[in-house]
C-alpha cells in the first residue's frame, strides 16, 4: 500500500510502486484530468504540483510521490492563483481541444506563484508544454491576464 495525498485527501493505493504517478491518478484514482501525451516527459500534458513544484508525472514512480502533497487540475481551483488562471482561460477562451490544457494550467499557475508578473521571456522559459492546437498566443495572454497585467 502506498499512501498518497492528493488535493488534500489521503488515498491508499495498491499498485506496483514503479507505476508512474500519472497512471495511478488516472487509472486507479479516476482523476482523469491529468493527461498522457508522450510518456517521456516531453509534452507536459501530465503536469501536476508536487510539494509546491510543477512536475511531469509520466515517468515519476508513484512511490516517489508517497506522502507528498499533490495538487492536480481537479484541485487547483482551491488555490487563488489556480482559480485566477482558470478564469483567465475562460475569459480568453484559451483551450481548443483542451487536451493539453490541464498541464498547461498547472505550469502557468506554478509560474505565477513564483513570478507574479512574468515577462514574455519568463513565460517562454517556463512554459515548455506542447499544444498541438497551437493555443500559445492565448496561453500567453491568459498568463498576463491572470497576473493582472
Amino acid at each position: 500500500m502506498i499512501t498518497l495525498n492528493v488535493n488534500g485527501q489521503t488515498k491508499q493505493v495498491n499498485v506496483d510502486p514503479a507505476t508512474p504517478l500519472l497512471w495511478v491518478l488516472r487509472d486507479v484514482l479516476g482523476l482523469t484530468g491529468t493527461k498522457y501525451g508522450c510518456g517521456i516527459e516531453e509534452c507536459g500534458a501530465c503536469t501536476v504540483w508536487i510539494e509546491g513544484g510543477a512536475e511531469k508525472t509520466c515517468q515519476m514512480r508513484v512511490s516517489d510521490a508517497a506522502g507528498k502533497p499533490i495538487v492536480t487540475i481537479e484541485g487547483i481551483a482551491s488555490t487563488p492563483i489556480g482559480k485566477a488562471v482558470q478564469q483567465a482561460w475562460i475569459d480568453l477562451q484559451v483551450p481548443q481541444c483542451g487536451y493539453c490544457q490541464s498541464g498547461m494550467i498547472m505550469a502557468a499557475a506554478n509560474l505565477l506563484r513564483r513570478t507574479p508578473k512574468p515577462t514574455d521571456a519568463q513565460i517562454d522559459a517556463a512554459m515548455s508544454n506542447i499544444c498541438a492546437c497551437g493555443t500559445y498566443t492565448r496561453v500567453r495572454a491568459g498568463i498576463h491576464r491572470a497576473a493582472g497585467q
Partner: protein, 738 residues
Amino acid sequence: MNDMMIGSASRLGRRALFTGAAAGGLVVGFGRPPEALAVGPLGAAHQGAMTGGAAPGATVAAAPVTTATVNVWVVIGSDESVKIYGAGAEMGQGIISGMAQVLAEELKVAWFRVTTAQPDAAPKYDHPVSHRRFTGGSNNIRSWFQPLLKIGATAREMLIAAAAIQLNEPASGLKAANGVVTSVSTGRSLTYGALAPIAAGLTPPASPPILSAASGYSLIGLPVKRPDIALKVNGNAKFGIDAMVPGMVFAAIKQCPVFGGTVAATPAVPAGAMAVVNLGNAVAVVSTESTWKAFQLARGLAVSWTIPPATRAAQDSQAMRAAANAIMANGPVTQAEKIGDLAAGMALAKNTISRTYSLPFTAHATMEVMTCTAAVTATSCEIWVPTQAPDACQAKAMALTGLTAAQVTVHSMFMGGGLGRKGETDYVVQAVTIAKQIGQPVKLTWSREEELTHDFYRPMAISKLTVGLNGSGDIVGWNNRIVSPSILARVFPAAVAGGLDSQSTDGAIGLPYTMGARFVEYGILTTPVPVGFWRSVGNSLNTFVVETAIDEAAAVAGMDPLAYRQKLLTSSPRLLGVLAKAAAMAGWGTKPAAGHARGIACRFSFGSYVAEVVEIATNAAGQVQVVRVDCAVDCGTTVNPDSVAAQMQSSIIQGLATALWGKITWQNGVADQQNFDTFRMMRMRDAPAINVQVIGSTANPPGGVGEPGLPPAAPALANAYFALTGKRVTSLPMFGGG
C-alpha cells in the same frame, strides 16, 4: 477533411427527423434524455455539464429538473435550461458550440442558458440531406447552417403553438424572444420552460417556418463563450482516453512496424498480463491493473512477424523518393488541367522559372493518442470513442459483432485533437475485436510511439513546376507535374479510376491567378506507407508550391509580391480583400526592423479566403524565429468570430511547425521519428504573435474555418525566408534535413 467525406455508410432512404416529427416526448429526470446514455459519472459530466459561461467549479442545483424534448436536438428544462445537441464532432474547433449558436438564433433563447452535448450515433442525428454524420472538410457549419436554422425555428414555432393553447390566443399574435413567448396584444407571457412539456406533444408545423433575415441576426456573429471551455480548465471534460466503465480492463497494442506485415504466431500470455489478442497485423496485451502496465507488457512482448523483404525495403524514404522521381521522369501521369496551348504560351516567355519542390510525409500527432473503449456482449456493443466518424464506427462494430444498429451504441467523446486522423476507424476495430475476444469491457490506448509510427500520414509530394513569364512579367505558361500517393485510392478506389485524385490536385488546379496556358498533370505514387486526410489535405502541399512560385515570379517580374498578386487576382475580389487587409495589418510596404523580413501568401479553400503575412528574424543563435503573423480571413457569414480567429491561430501554428520541422522518414521499414523528442512540435518559445481579423459578410454563405488558415502559412514563411536570405525554399521541412 474533404468534401467527399470518408468512411460512413450512407443512410439514404431513411427519413430525416430534423423537423421533430415523431421525436417529441416528455422526459422527467435530471436533464438527460434517453439518447444520452448513462456511463456512470463520466456520462453525466460529459453529456450534461457543458454550460455556457459557467464558472469553474460551479455547482448544479440539487432539485430535480423536468425536461421536455421538443425535438431530438432541443431539450428544455423546467429551470429554463436549453440543451442543444450538435451533430458535429468536437476536436477543438468549437463545432458543437457553433452549431448550437446557429440553432439558438432561430430558437430565440439567451446564450447563457444553453448547454451542449454530442449525441450518440443514430440516423435521427444524421444530416437531413446527406444522411450521414461525419466531421471533416471544414464542412459542418457549411452543410448544417440552413438545417440548423430550420430546426431552431421549428422548435420555436412549436413553443409558440403551445403558448397559443395555454393563452387561448392565435399563434399569429404571439412573439418569441429570449426564451419567452409573449402576447403582443395582452402582454401575457409564458416561458419556454413552462411551454416545453406541451410543445413536446404537438405535431411540428407542416409548412417550413419563416427564418430571420441575416440582417436581423442577434446571436449569429457574436463572439459567444463556448460551453465546453469551462470543462476544459478543471479536468472535467471527458475525452476518449478518459472513458471508464465498470469492470473495464486496459489494453495496449504492438503493431507490426512494417506496414503489410502480419503476426507469425500468437505470443504466449506474459506474466502479469490477463490476455494477449492476435489482431492479424498487431498484438494487443491486456492488463487488469493500468494502461501503463499494459504498455510495459506490450513493449516487452517478443512478437514474431511475417514481413515480406520487399515490403520492408520499400518502406524507406530514399526508396519512395526514387520511385517518385521515376514517375516524375517517365510517368504514368494523367492530365488534371489543360487551359490553352502550353507550347504556344511558353513560346511567348522571356523568362522561365523551373523548380522541383518536395514535401515529406508527416504525422497528425494529435495530443490524445488513438484510444477506444468497448464493451461487447452477445446482444450489445457499446463504444466510447473520440471520433470524427461516429456512423463509420457503428458500421464497423456491426460488421465485427454481427449486431444490429440498434444494438451498437457509439458514444462520441471529446477528441484531444482529430486533424483528420480520427476519421479513421482502425483503433475502433481493434478495441471491439479485443473486447469481443476477452468478454470484458476494455479500454485500448496506443502509446505515442504507436501513434507516430502507425498513422495514415499526410502524403509526401514532389512537384515539378515551370512558369513562363513574358516581358511584362505576366504568366504565359504554367506547367506543373505532381507525383504523390493517393488518399482516395485507399478510401474510395472508384474515385481514382481515371488516374486522378481530386484531393491530390486540390490547390494545384483552378488557380485564381490570371495566367496564359496551363497544363497540370498528376501521377499516383504507390507506397507501403498508408496516407490519409491531414488538415487541408492537398492544399497543404500544393499551396506551398503555388504560392512560392508566384513569389518567385514576382521577383523575376521585378514586382513587390503583394502588388504582383493584386495584378493577377483581378477576378477574385474576396482574395484581394484579405490580401489588402493582412498587408495593412502587417505594415506591408514599411521597412521591417533590422534583421527581419516578411513574406505573404493567400489561398481560397473550403469556402473561405485567407491571406497571411509572416515576419521572421534570425535569433541570437542564428536560427530563424517566426516573430509575427498577420492573418485576414473572409469566411462569409461568420457564426462565432472568436472561434474563427482561434482556428486561424491553430492552423498557422500547425502550418508553420510542419514547414519548419514536420516529417516522418523511414529507413528499411523503421520510422526515424517515434516520439516528441524526434518529432518536433512547436512550443511557446517558438510561437509567433498572431493577429487575426475576420472580415466576412452575411452577403455570402458561411465558409469552412478548420482548415483554410493552414495552406498559406508554409509559403508565407518560405517567402519571408527568401526576403531575409535570398534563398528559395523548395524542400520541406526547412530544418531537419527534409
